[in-house]
């Protein structure tokens, strides 16, 4: 009785501490925090090492992306086959800023226009590039543009009760549309080549070890933040409500919840997280191009989440990291047939581990339990 009382008197603050109730989450965050202090130093003091850190940084961005998808898919049961759209948009916003920072150091030395505009004879900077000279504006856009798109899109879709597969397919249509649009050279975003040749970020040389370290720290920090946000949301009453929406939306309506609004908000939050992930991703890989909008890539994101364990925040993170580490290693260990390995893993996991690797963990636990 009293136990119940204390257990249910959850305030926002206690929520945060509560997340350290889930062991794996605790481990993850500890690792991340350690890495924040450890890796950049390691990176700077190992002279040969020039890419491990940005590689890890990249993984963390993907992890954040996966996290954002898990929030809507794992909990609210909304499967987006187009989350790459928000990731990519976030990336482009950051990319545009980095392009502006090149200034007159482009190959044509044109202070006004990015190189690709010069050789496509653009007279002047198109209006939608205005303001991207300022980092603040750009980072604002990183949040606004994906957020706004997600809001409008989901408001339309959920408003008219588009659900399930139909929703998934139109998200795919959305990302596909964006890909076609951005591929066009006269669209003003560099066409197929996208945005590249970045020089600095905030005045610092983008390829210097310090910057890389800093970028890694940012990614890790954002991942932790993202994790906490998601954790707070799902461990509050909303967590249950989302599950309710997932399992029995009508019941939730008859309980007096405006499920549409809940879905829109959660979808928008998720999109913003994805956008931030994209924005952190671009400076670390040094290029953003329409390839990020290819529907296949968006499906890959879903695969990460499924692999790690849908409906477990840490599962998403682990899934993203595992798949991409595999990719990095297999592409060099067995360049000819690595894709077949990857495919097999996807199939086996979806069939035998419905909750992804988190199941694996449970199996191991049970195994040791028997001993």
């Amino acid at each position: 009785m009293n136990k119940q009382l204390t257990e249910n008197k959850k305030s926002l603050i206690t929520n945060i501490f509560l997340l350290l109730g889930d062991t794996t989450g605790k481990y993850l965050i500890t690792i991340l925090i350690i890495s924040i202090f450890l890796l950049p130093i390691l990176h700077i003091y190992i002279p040969e090492d020039s890419y491990t850190i940005s590689l890890l940084g990249k993984y963390l961005c993907f992890a954040l992306l996966a996290l954002s998808l898990d929030l809507i898919w794992g909990y609210a049961g909304i499967l987006s086959l187009g989350h790459g759209a928000f990731f990519g948009l976030g990336g482009y916003m950051m990319g545009m800023h980095l392009m502006r920072e090149i200034g007159d150091r482009g190959v044509y030395g044109n202070p006004e226009l990015p190189d690709f505009m010069v050789f496509l004879n653009w007279e002047k900077l198109p209006w939608f590039w205005y303001g991207f000279d300022s980092f603040l504006f750009a980072s604002l856009m990183v949040i606004l543009v994906p957020g706004l798109l997600a809001f409008i899109f989901s408001a339309l879709a959920f408003g008219s009760r588009v659900t399930g597969v139909y929703f998934s397919i139109i998200t795919q249509a959305l990302v596909f549309t964006l890909m076609l649009a951005f591929f066009q050279n006269n669209f003003g975003f560099g066409g197929n080549n996208g945005l590249t040749d970045f020089k600095d970020i905030l005045g610092k040389d983008i390829s210097s070890k310090e910057t890389r370290g800093a970028l890694y720290i940012c990614s890790a920090f954002m991942l932790i933040l993202g994790y906490l946000i998601c954790r707070i949301i799902i461990s509050s009453k909303i967590g249950n409500i989302l599950v309710g929406i997932r399992d029995r939306e009508t019941r939730m309506r008859f309980l007096g919840y405006n499920t549409t609004v809940f879905k829109i908000i959660i979808f928008t939050i998720s999109a913003v997280l994805a956008g931030i992930a994209g924005a952190l991703y671009v400076p670390q890989v040094g290029i953003i191009n329409p390839g990020e909008f290819s529907p296949i890539k968006s499906i890959e994101i879903v695969v990460w989440v499924a692999l790690g364990g849908r409906g477990f925040l840490y599962g998403a993170i682990i899934g993203a990291i595992v798949v991409n580490v595999l990719k990095s290693y297999l592409t060099i260990i067995s360049p000819e047939i690595w894709i077949i390995f990857l495919g097999l893993i996807f199939i086996l996991v979806t069939i035998y581990l419905p909750n992804g690797l988190t199941d694996l963990r449970r199996l191991i636990k049970r195994y040791y339990g028997r001993k």
Binding site: E48, F119, N192, G291
Partner: protein
């Protein structure tokens, strides 16, 4: 889970120390073996492997054996950058042969410049670039597009269709051609039709019938095609089906070689043209030897050879020669040795590496035959020097590339007398 992560983190850092011992000379191969570009790039991977094998049979290089390190960037551009880094830092390769699309090159460029690597890029491209760390063994626009247009103009062509896939190479090439047609050949702008299509465009009915209409209205018309890879087969099939004969409207392509043609029945397309620096049908002893080796290596006598393969052959031979000349594989030494170095090309001439990192090559124009081969109907008397910065775009006309002193930079602006862009010392 925690354990796994720990192991993973450590392994990544230790990887850096694995490959320190270097008793072989490592040759990196950075070509997509999966994804959309695999169709073109896999062949180049095999070509490099064959060349390495050959070199080893001949006793290796500087008394060491060559070792090819193959990675698969999977037609994923950011992955290209990552893999390039891995090749240069983890695998510690001495040279890399790779990339096909412009975007993949753009994506690895900063990596090679930062880590001072050496990349040989074997594909014809839009120019507008000359990096200290890249040798461009493919054709620049002035080694492909412009001679082709001249040839057709000589054949009495008055109207032009510039059809291309919507990415940077066709955009730039067509831009160059447009201004060339207008200013040099004096073609009026309503005799020029420009059309762009998305990647892998498969339904060509409308466009082809537009071309037909445009072309049948009196004046002799030709199509200059910069259509990319996969989209070509349906395009040519549609041409054949709508009965556009080469005699009526010849199509000259810059991205269609023997390999693309091997994908379909060319008998309806006899007479359409392509401009390259190499054709499999070129008549020379070296070429025959090369074709024989290739078929032996790939164990399939249906396989063909094409221009980018020759580019790799030239690039590889040049690199070997330069390494021997420099006596080491040190990038800077090799680069210095590369300038002015000359090796026989497969068409019976010699290729020379210029100080702007582009080659001197002959330009050939071939007509498609029923067997999927080209008959060479025209060729430049001597070699043409690759021009990194075209003279037909106002902004790049002012820029020259020369990596030897006194200029020592890839884009030196004649007017301002200074270098811009990332790639200067």
């Amino acid at each position: 889970m925690y354990k796994f992560l720990k192991i993973f983190l450590f392994s990544i850092f230790f990887l850096n120390f694995f490959n320190l011992k270097a008793d072989t000379i490592k040759v990196g191969v950075l070509h997509s073996l999966s994804g959309t570009m695999a169709i073109s790039e896999t062949t180049l991977k095999d070509t490099v492997l064959m060349l390495v094998e050959k070199q080893n049979k001949a006793g290796g290089l500087l008394g060491k054996k060559l070792e090819a390190v193959v990675v698969d960037p999977a037609s994923d551009w950011p992955l290209f950058a990552e893999k390039a880094k891995e090749l240069l830092t983890v695998q510690k390769v001495d040279v890399v042969f790779g990339c096909w699309t412009s975007v993949s090159r753009k994506s690895v460029l900063p990596v090679f410049e930062e880590l001072n690597g050496l990349l040989f890029y074997p594909v014809q491209y839009e120019g507008e670039e000359s990096s200290k760390n890249v040798f461009y063994t493919g054709a620049a626009p002035n080694q492909q597009a412009i001679p082709a247009v001249d040839y057709l103009a000589a054949q009495g062509v008055k109207k032009w269709v510039l059809a291309g896939t919507d990415y940077v190479y066709p955009r730039t090439t067509n831009k160059i051609l447009e201004s060339y047609l207008k200013e040099v050949l004096g073609v009026s702008s309503d005799d020029i039709m420009i059309n762009y299509t998305p990647f892998g465009h498969s339904d060509w009915q409308t466009i082809v019938s537009d071309i037909k209409e445009f072309g049948m209205a009196g004046k002799k018309t030709a199509v200059v095609s910069t259509i990319n890879g996969d989209a070509n087969v349906p395009f040519y099939k549609e041409l054949g089906n709508q009965g556009i004969k080469a005699e009526d409207i010849p199509v000259v392509a810059f991205s269609v070689g023997e390999e693309e043609l091997s994908g379909f029945d060319t008998s309806p397309l006899v007479g359409h043209l392509a401009a390259w620096n190499y054709f499999m049908s070129a008549e020379s002893e070296v070429n025959d030897a090369f074709i024989e080796d290739w078929i032996k290596f790939i164990k399939d006598d249906k396989r063909v050879t094409n221009d980018p393969m020759e580019a790799h052959v030239i690039g590889f031979d040049m690199w070997v020669k330069a390494v021997e000349k420099a006596g080491s594989t040190d990038v800077d030494a090799v680069r210095q040795a590369m300038y002015g170095i000359s090796v026989p090309n497969l068409t019976g001439g010699t290729a020379v590496m210029n100080t702007n990192h582009h080659l001197t090559k002959p330009v050939l124009i071939g007509e498609i035959q029923a067997d999927g081969q080209f008959d060479i109907v025209w060729s430049t008397s001597g070699g043409v020097i690759g021009d990194a910065w075209t003279d037909f775009l106002p902004d790049s006309a002012r820029i020259v590339a020369d990596w030897t002193s006194p200029i020592k930079c890839g884009n030196y602006n004649i007017d301002t007398g200074k270098c811009s862009g990332q790639n200067y010392e």
